[in-house]
């Protein structure tokens, strides 16, 4: 992608040529000028869409009614333009540009790439399946997927064989729908499991399976493209306008950010030990235990845990007292603490340096950035702990063996937040957490809510109504969903206050 460098102004008449289909493989980067605002808006909105794709992908069965309804709504929202509706061209342009911007943000590490590819694939699969059969074939042809359709006579002569080899095929289906001839090298998954008919090196793929083939192609292309993008990234990052934006995008969290403290001073320091067992997510429980045992935490752990504590309502004074009392038990004397560590605690509360009021880390941030090394206790235990150790820890915390197994299964499938949610369900003895976990402080709030029988909700609602005048915050209890985040869009700066 040429960036920022050469750009051409797009002439109106070639609009239709550029986007001749509502779906695309994103082969060619956009070649126009856009404003920074549009750049940011497009990126953030697509990110929200992809996050929804991810959430729905793990919470609903793909292609179930619930899944389709919700995803459909989200996609419409993405393409929605508040003014008089949006032209087809505008939609496709937004699709195109937003994808490429996110490539810049998500090409940098293996984890980010994997996440991005997975969500883009799921989104693509949904949109492709939604297409009319004719448009599907159209798409294949326009993208040089030289998959010929099998002639009617050949279909008839091979009918029995086709039915015997492919899942879900019947005589009528073979007659009515297209069957594609694809070189077997492009259909390896079907060949490997012998779920397709092979003849003379070609796999005969029924219509409903062609999306798998297309997806493989999509994945390969995107994977290669991301690798290439990563190589040209330094040039992009040197542009000062874009660098902060891009780095925030890859850590962006699109829900409530717990930056505004509610219930300040409501928690007393004596309660923390008990709370850590009852209402802390596993990562924070782990950090708290390590702090108590070692009377010390390294920077990563101090940030993750310290900000979390701020989020649950510790005041600056309380925080200082908490950290000092613990560190002093260790190798640090009071003087050294005041000189070295107190500064960083105040920094967390925005009382030093650039006075940014740091926001507690979201799950995504904890999982994706700054992996722990030897001697660290931060990170997400579901992501960063060795499964055996995790199993032991869960057993120590009295999680049932079957529950532990469920958690480990989710971990194996890389659904770390769902694993934590399951941990919530098991430790609180509920069948359904009732929320979609995205943030450690959300875990805490939900847990407190549950344990106190919902009594605290009203108080929080009052507080949030009061703080609504502050444009930098929108606080609505629990559900971190995109509707709410959409309203946060009003002030982009605060949105990216993740550091």
């Amino acid at each position: 992608m040429q960036f920022p460098g050469r750009r051409k102004k797009l002439i109106g008449s070639s609009q239709n040529d550029l986007y001749d289909h509502c779906l695309q493989f994103y082969g060619q980067p956009p070649l126009e000028n856009i404003s920074l605002t549009e750049f940011e808006t497009f990126a953030v909105e697509r990110l929200k869409l992809l996050k929804t794709v991810e959430n729905l992908g793990v919470s609903c069965v793909k292609n179930s009614e619930q899944y389709t309804k919700k995803l459909d709504a989200e996609i419409s929202k993405f393409f929605f333009n508040k003014e008089d509706g949006i032209s087809e061209y505008e939609k496709r342009r937004k699709d195109h540009i937003s994808h490429f911007i996110l490539r810049l943000a998500y090409c940098q590490t293996e984890d980010l790439r994997r996440w991005f590819i997975q969500q883009e694939m799921d989104l693509f699969r949904y949109r492709f399946n939604d297409l009319h059969s004719k448009h599907k074939t159209d798409f294949l042809h326009k993208n040089n997927l030289k998959y010929e359709t099998v002639s009617a006579e050949e279909k008839k002569s091979l009918q029995d064989k086709l039915i015997a080899s492919s899942y879900g095929l019947s005589g009528t289906k073979v007659e009515e729908h297209d069957v594609y001839k694809v070189p077997f090298q492009d259909a390896l998954d079907l060949v490997r499991t012998r779920k397709v008919y092979l003849l003379a090196g070609n796999a005969y793929i029924p219509h409903h399976e062609i999306v798998t083939i297309v997806l493989n192609d999509f994945r390969t292309r995107l994977s290669k493209a991301l690798a290439m993008t990563a190589r040209s990234l330094p040039a992009v990052q040197s542009d000062e306008r874009l660098q902060p934006l891009l780095s925030h995008l890859s850590h962006a969290y699109v829900g409530q950010d717990y930056s505004i403290q509610k219930n300040i001073g409501k928690i007393s320091l004596e309660q923390i030990d008990a709370l850590s067992g009852k209402s802390f997510p596993l990562c924070m429980r782990h950090l708290h235990k390590a702090l108590r045992e070692n009377h010390h935490l390294r920077h990563g752990g101090r940030m993750q845990y310290g900000l979390f504590l701020k989020g649950i309502g510790l005041s600056l004074e309380q925080a200082l007292q908490f950290w000092r009392s613990e560190f002093v038990k260790g190798k640090v004397d009071a003087d050294k603490f005041d000189k070295a560590y107190a500064y960083s605690v105040r920094h967390m509360f925005g009382k030093e340096g650039k006075r940014t009021d740091y926001t507690p880390y979201s799950c995504m941030k904890v999982i994706l950035s700054n992996p722990p090394s030897q001697g660290d206790y931060h990170g997400c235990p579901f992501r960063h702990s060795d499964p055996e150790l995790l199993k032991q820890k869960l057993q120590n915390y009295k999680v049932s063996p079957s529950g532990t197994n469920q958690i480990l299964e989710l971990v194996k499938g890389m659904h770390y937040q769902l694993a934590c949610q399951k941990y919530f369900e098991l430790t609180h003895n509920v069948e359904d957490a009732g929320f979609s976990l995205n943030h450690p402080n959300q875990y805490f709030t939900e847990s407190q809510k549950l344990l106190s029988g919902g009594r605290d909700i009203k108080k929080e609602v009052d507080m949030s109504q009061r703080s609504q005048e502050n444009p930098a915050s929108v606080t609505r209890p629990s559900q971190a969903n995109s509707k709410q985040a959409h309203e946060e869009m009003g002030d982009l700066d605060s949105f990216f206050q993740d550091e």
């Binding site: 064989k161 039915i163 015997a164 080899s165 077997f184 090298q185 390896l188 998954d189 060949v191 490997r192 499991t193 012998r194 008919y197 092979l198 003849l199 003379a200 090196g201 070609n202």
Partner: protein, 421 residues
Amino acid sequence: MSTSDYDPACLPDLLPLYYRRLFPFSQYYRWLSYGGVSKNYFQNREFSFTLKDDIYVRYQSFTTQNELEKEMQKMVPYKIDIGAVYSHRPSQHNAVKSGTFQALEKELVFDIDMTDYDDVRRCCSAADICSKCWTLMTIAIRILDRALREDFGFHHLLWVYSGRRGVHCWVCDDAARKLSVAARSAVAEYLSLVKGGEETVRKVVLSDPIHPFINHSLSVVERYFQQYAIVDQDILGSKESVDKVLAVLSPLCRQMKSFTREGSSVSYDLHFSCVSVKSNSKKGGQYFDKEIMLQYCYPRLDVNVSKGVNHLLKSPFSVHPKTGRISVPIDLKELDTFDPFEVPTISLICEELEKPRAEEAEEDDMKDKENEQEAGERRRIRDYKRTSLAKYVKVFDRFLEAMARSRKGEMLKKSDLQKDF
């Protein structure tokens, strides 16, 4: 016949003779050059040699046929393996920047080893083979050859006797040589039906619908089953072996009713009237007769051999040190009469070399006096023709011819498209 004549201790004397006068270097070079279409294809090919005293050397490569000959005559390898075509000359791989030396292409290969059938053959075990169990190889070749040609569209397959207890298949099509690891493994898995090791009793599980590939394979097995399993292997011949057959089914049914074995001419009825299975209509129970046939006869291949692009496999025309037999190409037209015990040993063919020359040979002698080098080659060609190796080299020649014709056809097609005349 000739096995008794072979003594491994003679190898150090026989091998030099073999490499000087019998090994078909020119055909071998012709094969591995693939028409010279890709630059440096032969030069970048890895060979590995096992020398005397089990010294193993890898990353051997040669720039010309002549160099190959000279080196082999000098080093006198006991075993020769062929590996992949790399990005650089294998003999110089240490000089290449780390990470850039890569295996690029190789034939798609399959290795069928009789030892993998030990649980279902009664006549032999381990490295032994006999005429009774050799049928397994025949069945394997027929099934795999058909599938590779008809299902996968490959044309140039070289089947080779390994020299002791199995066969190898070299798929030499352009497309095959360019296959990725994932593709090779997918092909191998498509072709695999017998799954499971020692702990698995029921190794073949069939369910509706039956894929056409399985049906094709079954029809091959059925052709041979009567003679092979019932007669030669006699799987219904004793209570013990019958029990073994039943054990495969035991998870499915408790009662076996009848299968007939009429007097002297054995006929079998593998439609076991298995009461409990019918009434349970348990999934998979309906095909147990087919499952048994497949478990006893279907080819067992080692996916790992086929998967790797850089995997080294025994070379055709290499000698098997334990049996002395030459790894010869198998003529599929004569497959049913192929007898591994008739395959010439190195001692036999060296012996045949010493026999008094026929008349025509004397004529050629005159021509030889003219040109020494050509003479050397001609002599060698004459030489193997005088031995039992001849007919196998002919099979190899036909294989090479077919590939050459095909390459020519491809080039014509290409030039037609480009309108080059």
